[in-house]
């Protein structure tokens, strides 16, 4: 709990110079006509505590320093807001300049340059779950500080406008002040994740289309399987056999390849044999021609043989004659010599002829043998070729069989491929849906927990809000206030007899302001510290305004040192009446219960404290 004891602002918003205000009283009222810088004081406190001014920065996280600087201030002057705080017993001072925060602890002469996170820590809620390492987003801390400490027009709208358009902003802000902002924020992020997931998939339509496609493919697969089952295929066996048969097909293919290769080589060999046969035939023809030629010599040989026989006979005759002639050797020596020579040459020629005959006969025999061999070989080759052709035919049959098996296997492969596609799509859709469902479930859990907690807190808070509202509402219209249902506890309303009323639709502007004030003040008592209310009585009627004065006095008196309030008003009668109301109120914690500042001037001529006084006894 941090209380602001003093605030100094310079060159800020509607204050061109410097303004210093004391907030040590439990209640400080800053009175000034419109345009005199009242709201600038509240804005300065917001800038110091959160680093931004929401109404100026149009709800962005950081206010533009140029927008916050007083337009009428001299160029060389420096925009600065300084606050003196008390945290328990410890005092510190914080200075906000456009580029930084400077923190002075008690006894420090030199400031520590401080980060926004450290500042948020000073003024923000007690962080939850530190032991689990969670950290609250600075934005949430800022929102918490803003919605808890500052009652402005925008806070008022958030507190009472329960229309659905405003619901998310209300949930964030109100969740923030009840301490569940982080839960709502995380739920939002989970929901965003789920939304991005589905959007990235083409939206719900895209997912539906994929599911439709999946259903179609499943149907197609079932149909295909049925067709296969009808044609005698056992799909289960089929699944099991696919792998084995595929490898068998592969080996059969290899075998087919080998057979074809062997057939081709055999055919080549056959061609070679045919060629050899042709060559042999040609040679045979040559040999036949040679034989025929030789046969042509046969009559001559026979003639020679006849001549030889005749010569032998002549020899015999001549031998006889020789013998007879021996006697007449001399006479016949010459004749006989000549006849011997003739005989020798004729025998020599005959021997040559015989040798030739023998050679030719041998050659003919060899040729005949070779011819027979060739014929045998030709016969064998024909047989081999026939066998190869038959083998090839068999291989062809095998190929046909294998092709049939392959066709069947291709069908099975097609089934496997279809199954793979179905599985892939199914896994994809399942994963996306699972992640989406998990994210939404997590968001639901977080939101449920947040709503549950909010409902419990609001039930307790409404024990205070409801009587506070009823006392500010002098004209009793509503019997009680109640929180909304568990799914949206911030959708609160009022009851009168058996009728239910929604603030945004059925409440007057004044009643709405009463309700916002009741919620804000009831909550302030539970949070403690310093609270800033900008023009909180603007829509209240006389009686309700007096009731609010009583309520403020009650808060001051029961406050002990736990709360102090800073409020602005442009109504002099309110200030006067408040001074009267507090005239006999004793000191609170040694402090006057009410301090009033009256501001004078304008941004053009400068703003100053025209009057400062305290109300109360002593």
């Amino acid at each position: 709990m941090v209380k602001m004891e003093r605030l100094r602002l310079a060159v800020f918003r509607g204050v061109p110079g410097e303004l210093q205000l004391d907030f040590t009283a439990p209640l400080t009222i800053i009175y000034a006509p419109n345009g005199t810088g009242k709201s600038s004081v509240i804005d300065a406190a917001e800038w110091l505590l959160t680093g931004g001014v929401k109404r100026v920065s149009d709800f962005s996280e950081r206010s533009d320093a140029g927008e916050l600087r007083c337009k009428f201030a001299p160029a060389e002057s420096r925009m600065e807001v300084e606050g003196w705080f008390l945290q328990g017993e410890e005092a510190f001072r914080l200075v906000r300049v456009p580029e930084a925060w400077l923190l002075y602890r008690e006894g420090d002469d030199v400031p520590h340059r401080t980060t926004s996170r450290d500042v948020m820590k000073l003024f923000g809620p007690i962080e939850f779950g530190k032991e689990r390492g969670y950290r609250v987003a600075p934005r949430l801390e800022r929102d918490w500080i803003r919605s808890t400490r500052f009652l402005t027009g925008s806070t008022l709208a958030l507190l009472v406008d329960t229309d659905s358009q405003n619901q998310t902003a209300r949930e964030t802000a109100l969740g923030g002040f009840l301490g569940v902002g982080e839960l709502f924020a995380r739920a939002d992020r989970f929901e965003n994740f789920a939304r991005h997931l589905i959007d990235g998939y083409g939206g719900e339509e895209g997912l539906a289309a994929t599911k439709k496609e999946l259903a179609r493919r499943k149907e197609e697969l079932a149909r295909f399987r049925k067709t296969m089952a009808d044609s005698g295929e056992n799909s289960l066996e089929l699944d099991e056999l696919i792998h084995g048969e595929l490898s068998e097909a592969s080996s059969v293919r290899d075998e087919e390849g080998r057979t074809r290769l062997y057939g081709a080589s055999q055919m080549k060999r056959l061609a070679e044999l045919k060629e050899t046969l042709g060559a042999k035939k040609k040679r045979l023809l040559v040999l036949k021609r040679v034989i025929n030629k030789l046969l042509e010599y046969l009559p001559e040989i026979e003639g020679i043989e006849t001549s030889v026989a005749r010569a032998r006979k002549d020899q015999k005759d001549w031998s006889e004659k020789l013998r007879r002639l021996i006697i007449d050797i001399n006479d016949t020596l010459l004749k006989r010599a000549r006849l011997d020579i003739s005989l020798v040459s004729r025998e020599s020629r005959l021997n040559d002829l015989f040798r030739k005959k023998l050679v030719y006969t041998e050659k003919i025999r060899e040729i005949l043998i070779s011819l027979k061999n060739c014929e045998d070989l030709l016969g064998l080759s024909n047989q081999s070729a026939f066998n190869q052709i038959r083998e090839s035919h068999r291989a062809g049959q095998k190929v046909t069989e294998l092709r049939s098996t392959l066709y069947s296997l291709n069908q099975k492969r097609q089934v496997a491929s279809m199954e793979e596609v179905v599985r892939t799509i199914e896994e994809k859709v399942t994963k996306i849906e699972r992640k989406r469902d998990q994210a939404l479930e997590a968001a639901r859990l977080l939101r449920g927990k947040a709503n549950q907690y909010c409902a419990e807190q609001l039930d307790r808070l409404f024990v205070v809000v409801s009587p506070m509202f009823s006392r500010i509402q002098a004209n009793e219209v509503f019997d009680s206030l109640q929180r909304g249902p568990l799914k949206n506890p911030f959708d609160w309303g009022a009851k009168s007899s058996s009728y239910e009323f929604t603030p945004s639709h059925h409440f007057s502007m004044g009643q709405r302001q009463d309700l916002a004030l009741s919620i804000f003040l009831a909550r302030a008592r539970g949070v403690k510290g310093t609270f800033y209310l900008d023009e909180p009585v603007i829509h209240l009627d006389d009686l309700n305004r007096v009731a609010l004065m009583d309520t403020l006095r009650m808060l001051v008196l029961e406050s002990e040192p736990r709360c102090n309030f800073v409020m602005t008003t442009a109504r002099r009668d309110f200030v006067r009446h408040m001074a009267e109301k507090f005239a006999n109120v004793p000191l609170v914690n040694g402090m006057p219960p009410l301090r009033i500042y009256e501001l004078d001037g304008s941004p053009r001529v400068g703003v100053r404290v025209a009057k400062e006084w305290c109300a109360g006894v002593g």
Partner: protein, 188 residues
């Protein structure tokens, strides 16, 4: 009568919270009789007046009488202190008023003459605060304690699968975390 003691105890607590102390009645001579009980502080006085009658006219007469007594007391107090002393008149009815009396109650509660006036009667309820619900319309007294709201709620324990998603969301943001899942799916 038992219920009146309960009411007085309740007022003691919530009036006491803002410095109002119960003072004994001054008796018939002092004008208060035994119909009223007062709590006072320098800045205000609260008088509980027990209305004995039930008819509209007699109720009005009683209210006027109580108002007159309180006015006298307030004037006296203001004389001794310098400044305004606010008066609050709490008018106790023994039974819930009928419709006829309701209109009178409304007009008297809106009337700011002399002091703020509030009627009170007992209702069904589990606690004294609930039974005397109308007491809270008295603007001077304190209120029940507000619940402490200065801290944030602990994060509920999430399943591991949710934590994984959260880790990714925290690391790269909701949109990028979703894109990553989509990318994984497209890779198949």
């Amino acid at each position: 009568m038992q219920s009146v003691y309960e009411l007085m105890d309740l007022i003691d607590v919530y009036a006491g919270a803002v410095g109002l102390k119960r003072i004994p009645p001054r008796g018939v001579d002092g004008g208060e009789g035994d119909q009223s009980i007062r709590w006072e502080a320098p800045y205000a006085q609260l008088m509980l007046w027990m209305i004995q009658s039930t008819g509209k006219a007699s109720v009005l007469a009683e209210v006027e009488k109580a108002q007159e007594i309180l006015d006298t007391l307030l004037v006296s107090a203001e004389k001794s202190l310098s400044g305004v002393v606010d008066g609050y008149l709490l008018l106790l009815l023994w039974n819930e008023p009928d419709e006829d009396l309701h209109s009178l109650i409304r007009s008297l509660e809106m009337d700011t003459n002399v002091c703020r006036k509030n009627f009170i009667w007992q209702r069904e309820g589990d606690t004294p605060e609930a039974r005397w619900e109308r007491l809270w319309r008295t603007t001077v007294i304190g209120l029940p304690e507000s619940p402490p709201l200065g801290r944030m709620v602990d994060m509920p324990e999430l399943k591991e699968s949710y934590k994984e998603i959260w880790k990714e969301i925290r690391r790269s943001g909701s949109a990028n975390a979703a894109r990553k899942v989509l990318k994984e799916c497209k890779r198949w």
